[in-house]
């Protein structure tokens, strides 16, 4: 019927880029399972998948009571030693039975929630993508948030981050399509200062690649949001130009080198990134911001040179 998920992204609570051995320990959330990692084009490590059992109402735009039973898959990841993410998702399918089955049934289908009763995919998708969800319905954000909390509370972190910043939440819904020749497409909107909603239509065979794509989008959206917030507080705050530039330092040290759109995303869903690059245009805004920071630094250097020669 549909796949939905939520990704929470935040700054890892450590003063420096977290070394590999510590990363592996921080992400070791399940005993006996391996932490996977890759080094190119950027250090990236991901925890084993965790399962959370759920039996609750699913959000529905119509307000209809739809019961969902099954499991949500969640995982945590660390990118570039600085950015931590908690991500949870589930596939919703129609239940063949009209009642809850034994848990062994659901445990053989990890990451699948079976909707009991009359359920329409579009209704749930709209309910999930809405800005507010009624109390008592499935809260994927709570599962993702808790997964991220598990990383952030690790005692391997020194808890002296270079700056303080908000987490952002990316909620995403994928409706599969069976129409031949259709490319993956998506719409992105900023619902609140911290919540983003992504609605996607993807050919059925490529739905599996979507989780990586959404985590990648969430990462870049967080980078952009955080850079803009840092620039606003640094450049509009009081002080001389040198002081304002000094306040931008943590951004230069930790964020600027992490921008690498779609680096780990399956080719089949690349069109989504490309369409989001056209509108709203993440990279365009990122590059404009980075060049603004560099211009400020150049002006600061010029001022220093002038004062030295004067």
């Amino acid at each position: 019927m549909l796949t939905f998920g939520e990704v929470h992204t935040g700054l890892l609570q450590n003063s420096t880029s977290l070394p590999w051995d510590a990363t592996a320990e921080v992400l070791n959330l399940l005993v006996g399972e391996q932490v996977r990692r890759s080094e190119r084009p950027m250090a990236y490590a991901v925890s084993p998948n965790l399962l959370t059992s759920v039996d609750c109402r699913l959000p529905a735009a119509s307000g209809k009571v739809i019961r969902g039973v099954g499991t949500v898959v969640s995982r945590a990841s660390i990118t570039g030693g600085h950015v931590a993410q908690g991500s949870g998702h589930a596939v919703v399918v129609k239940s063949t039975a009209n009642r809850r089955l034994s848990w062994s049934h659901y445990l053989t289908r990890p990451g699948t929630i079976e909707a009991i009763g009359k359920a329409v995919g579009g209704d749930i998708a709209r309910g999930f993508a809405g800005a507010s969800q009624p109390m008592g319905t499935l809260d994927l954000g709570a599962i993702s948030g808790r997964t991220l909390d598990a990383v952030q509370r690790s005692t391997r972190l020194d808890r002296h981050p270079p700056f303080r910043t908000q987490r952002t939440h990316m909620r995403w819904v994928v409706t599969p399509t069976d129409e031949p020749g259709v490319e993956a497409t998506g719409t992105f909107r900023v619902a609140t200062p911290t919540l983003r909603v992504l609605e996607l239509v993807v050919p059925r065979e490529h739905v599996g690649a979507i989780v990586d794509l959404c985590e990648d989008l969430a990462l870049h959206d967080w980078l952009l949001t955080t850079l803009l917030a840092l620039m606003e507080s640094s450049l509009t705050g009081p002080g001389t130009r040198a002081q304002r530039i000094a306040r931008l330092r943590p951004a230069i040290d930790t964020l600027l080198h992490l921008w690498m759109p779609a680096a780990r995303v399956d080719e089949a869903v690349q069109p989504v990134w490309q369409s989001l690059e056209r509108r709203p245009g993440f990279t365009r805004q990122w590059e404009a911001s980075v060049s603004r920071i560099r211009d400020q630094m150049t002006l600061g250097t010029l001022a220093l040179l002038e004062s030295a020669t004067a």
């Binding site: 954000g141 709570a142 952030q152």
Partner: protein, 305 residues
């Protein structure tokens, strides 16, 4: 950084003073949040002039969160939600000012492993975002105090800087009560030690703030008779002696808030406007708030003596 505000008894002006300190801190450019842990009487909405939350919230506040009813407690951005004009827009250069209200109709509740764990998780989460989190506790020995002592003893919170402010009025009974709250049986140090804190470390992270203090040398007391002034001086000296014998003296004093009519008659934030244009509040009060906002984050003011 986490700041816990507590007081020996009710009515010391703990909430209004700590709100004002936090407000000055936001104006100085820090991102700050205020957590209303006074579960019996959540009043912070009134101090920040949030019309929907005057006596706590119904939208899933801190009670609901600690009881596991909601995944995250409600947050109110003061610069957007307050209906007081001087708080309505964020002044240039100011940081974020966020209120986490208590639930209306809530009450004290005993601590459990679960709510202590949720409390620790909340502190860790807020610490990611804010330079300063001020937790306003109930007066006296309370479950809220015990819960935060248990939560901050958690290993994951070990590296987070934590400070305690104990507010008390400048009278004999209040000095004795403040001393009892900190050093006495089932006091803060005793309870902290039981939950795994180092007694000395905890004592070093604790300072006193005197509220509604009448200064015998203040020009405003010129109307008093000489006998009254002389008596005031005597009392002040006796109190100072009592305070130092009870370890509530000058060495552990972070600040004194003078008696101010605006704070006495209405708990509210004192804005620059109240002092400079409307002239209803005293300049000294504002200066004390400003200085306290700087001192709570200034390591020099917290050096071990």
């Amino acid at each position: 950084m986490l700041i816990f505000a507590t007081s020996d008894k009710g009515g010391t002006g703990r909430s209004v003073t700590s709100s004002n300190i936090l407000y000055r801190s936001a104006l100085q450019g820090s991102d700050v949040c205020y957590l209303d842990f006074d579960f019996g009487s959540p009043t912070s909405g009134a101090i920040f002039n949030i019309p929907t939350t005057l006596h706590g919230t119904t939208q899933g506040g801190l009670h609901s969160y600690l009881h596991g009813m909601v995944a995250d407690p409600q947050r109110l951005e003061i610069w957007q939600e307050s209906d007081r004009s001087s708080l309505r827009s964020r002044p240039p250069g100011a940081g974020r000012l966020v209120l986490l209200p208590g639930d209306s109709g809530g009450g004290e509740f005993p601590i459990t492993k679960e709510n202590t764990e949720r409390c620790a998780r909340l502190f860790l989460h807020l610490e990611e975002e804010f330079d300063l989190c001020l937790v306003d506790l109930s007066a006296g020995r309370s479950y809220a105090t015990e819960m935060v002592l248990a939560a901050t003893a958690n290993e994951a919170l070990r590296n987070i800087r934590t400070r305690w402010l104990v507010f008390h009025r400048w009278t004999r009974q209040h000095v004795l009560a403040a001393s009892g709250l900190v050093y006495g049986e089932r006091g803060i140090l005793h309870t902290g030690e039981n939950h795994g804190h180092d007694r000395e470390e905890l004592a070093n992270s604790l300072r006193f703030v005197r509220t509604a203090v009448v200064n015998p040398d203040s020009p405003e007391l010129e109307g008093l008779r000489p006998a009254q002034i002389a008596w005031l001086r005597d009392v002040d000296r006796d109190l100072s002696e009592l305070a130092s014998s009870r370890k509530v003296g000058r060495t552990l004093l972070l600040g004194s808030i003078p008696l101010d009519p605006v704070l006495q008659w209405r708990e509210q934030l004192i804005s620059d406007n109240d002092v400079w244009s409307r002239r209803i509040a005293n300049r000294e009060t504002l200066e004390q708030f400003d200085s306290l906002a700087k001192k709570i984050v200034d390591d020099a003011a917290w050096e071990t003596l």
